[in-house]
Symmetry: C2
Subunit: 360 residues, 2 copies
Amino acid sequence: MAADEACPMKGGDGPNSYAKNSIYQKGAVDAAKELLSKAIAEKLDLEILLASNSTFQIADLGCSIGPNTFWAIENILEAVELKYQIQGMKKSPITLEFQVFFNDHTPNDFNMLFKSLPLNRQYYAAGVPGSFYGRLFPKASLHFVHSSTAIHWLSRVPKDLADRNSRSWNKGKIQFSHSSDEVIRAFEAQFSEDMECFLNARAQEIVYGGLVALIVSGRPDGTPHSDSSLNVIYHLLGSCLMEMARKGVVSEEKVDAFNITMFYMSPQELKAAVELNGRFTIECMENLPRLSTIDNVTESPQLIASHVRAVTEVLFQQQFGDEILDELFDLYRTKLEEKPSIFDPTKAINFLVVLKRQAN
Amino acid sequence: MAADEACPMKGGDGPNSYAKNSIYQKGAVDAAKELLSKAIAEKLDLEILLASNSTFQIADLGCSIGPNTFWAIENILEAVELKYQIQGMKKSPITLEFQVFFNDHTPNDFNMLFKSLPLNRQYYAAGVPGSFYGRLFPKASLHFVHSSTAIHWLSRVPKDLADRNSRSWNKGKIQFSHSSDEVIRAFEAQFSEDMECFLNARAQEIVYGGLVALIVSGRPDGTPHSDSSLNVIYHLLGSCLMEMARKGVVSEEKVDAFNITMFYMSPQELKAAVELNGRFTIECMENLPRLSTIDNVTESPQLIASHVRAVTEVLFQQQFGDEILDELFDLYRTKLEEKPSIFDPTKAINFLVVLKRQAN
């Protein structure tokens, strides 16, 4: 799977769509709002704002199809406007304009995204298709990059997993967290490589002093992958698929060859990647408060199932066809109902990281 | 009909799609290639190129879903690169980067456009949804604007045509060229208003010295609307629809209320609009050579019918429903076959206009 053919969220606005099943992701945006506004007020250089030639350029990477991305952008605009009004306007009375680039993989439903753009938006909107692990924008063309609950998607299944004779062949599993050390190491190596690509691309695209704000779905420091609540719920989905394989509904070989590329990093792992890259300073790194909207999802088997379906349905469809989807997610919901406490809220975090581009 | 709900070309890549039925429009792009390259070589200020902070920003307005837009952009990039290599590089050896904004109405099939982006493209691509009769980009953010066979679409049906009791009620017609003086005047007024909106928006978005290149499907100076070959073929389509109304297949009232907003301007009319606006100089205005690829379309009843269908199908679908489309366009093809010389090539032109933004 090439990076840019990677899994889009379920498009459109039907009952299984991402648009209708992304309360969890909205929770992360909501939880970050206050911290992010504070970071903009304190960490955004006024010089950057005023040198922006009156247009402040923002990108939301992995924006999906809305509406979460619109809320996130609105929060950022409000905070930047406020900072300008309090500090900037006296020094340089310009009319600040905003251009917002909405990015996601090429197969993302941009038609739906564009149709849902807020009518009263105070910015010029553009869509940018492509993987954020590569360059998407011209040199030094952005002032602020935002990405929420997206960077846990790796760019690809690690190459080592393609060889059915190697110890990294992920037999009977659909993700890596409960697999052999070889499989886990292959995913960790892919994560390191991807983070380096991500940071290098952004380092070129962002002006010196520009900010990158990442809202990351991850696991607390010190938590093994297999204990991470997010991994645990996907592992259960894998076991449902294996149950269907044993019944002959899907091919076991296809399950073996299928791998979901989500990697729930810890704050420490992200910190290490940023330090290794060396182009950014970490201005803020904080766990987000647990909102009741998120707990409402993680405590409900029905909502976990529909959330997971909106996020992964297209992937399953590509590998196994349309016809297995209802059976798979019905079985999944049933299994989740048998384990009402499967999602341990102490073993999953959302955290905010704000990075600042350093002059070379 | 709000401007931004206006007619998109037929999406996807099926047999009736715009992607498969736009040889005529490609002909215009091809015919303009040499002239446009020459205009870039001679008229693009080197200072603009070098002051662009190393990124040269281009917009294609009314790009539809490809592939014509990709060829047009490639032509422009080649010409700008060449100019830079010949004249610019010695003065300022920068690595020139290009960002290209593909614009069309919000309902345009951007998903298809993004999937068809050339893999080996030498530019950063973005899609921008919205009507080009309003602002689409931040102030002074573009260096070059291109629009090919798009500006003959007015922003809306003139307001006067909405009143069934007025003399501007366009009874029994689907466009204006063969209608009463009142209807024609209403369309001419809408054209003037739209051109002023178009030029004002571009005047704000383009840097001083930046260029606007328009490839216009129009009629020769001095040609009445009713003689314009492009109007004549659409008028025939209207008479087919009226024939179906008389048979009771479609409602006559719906035909009366339905108006296609294409306005085939003359070079003189465009010149007057640019002069009235006053923000641009006309650097070049030339009729394009008639290419055999265009003649191949206009001499073939089958190709005229499929071309017209790709361009207008969505409009007819919205007003009359899916079920009439095959019958309408079959009847249309039959009528065209009865009049093999209906398209008088001396009564239709494509012309290129290159405008330069003047400092205020």
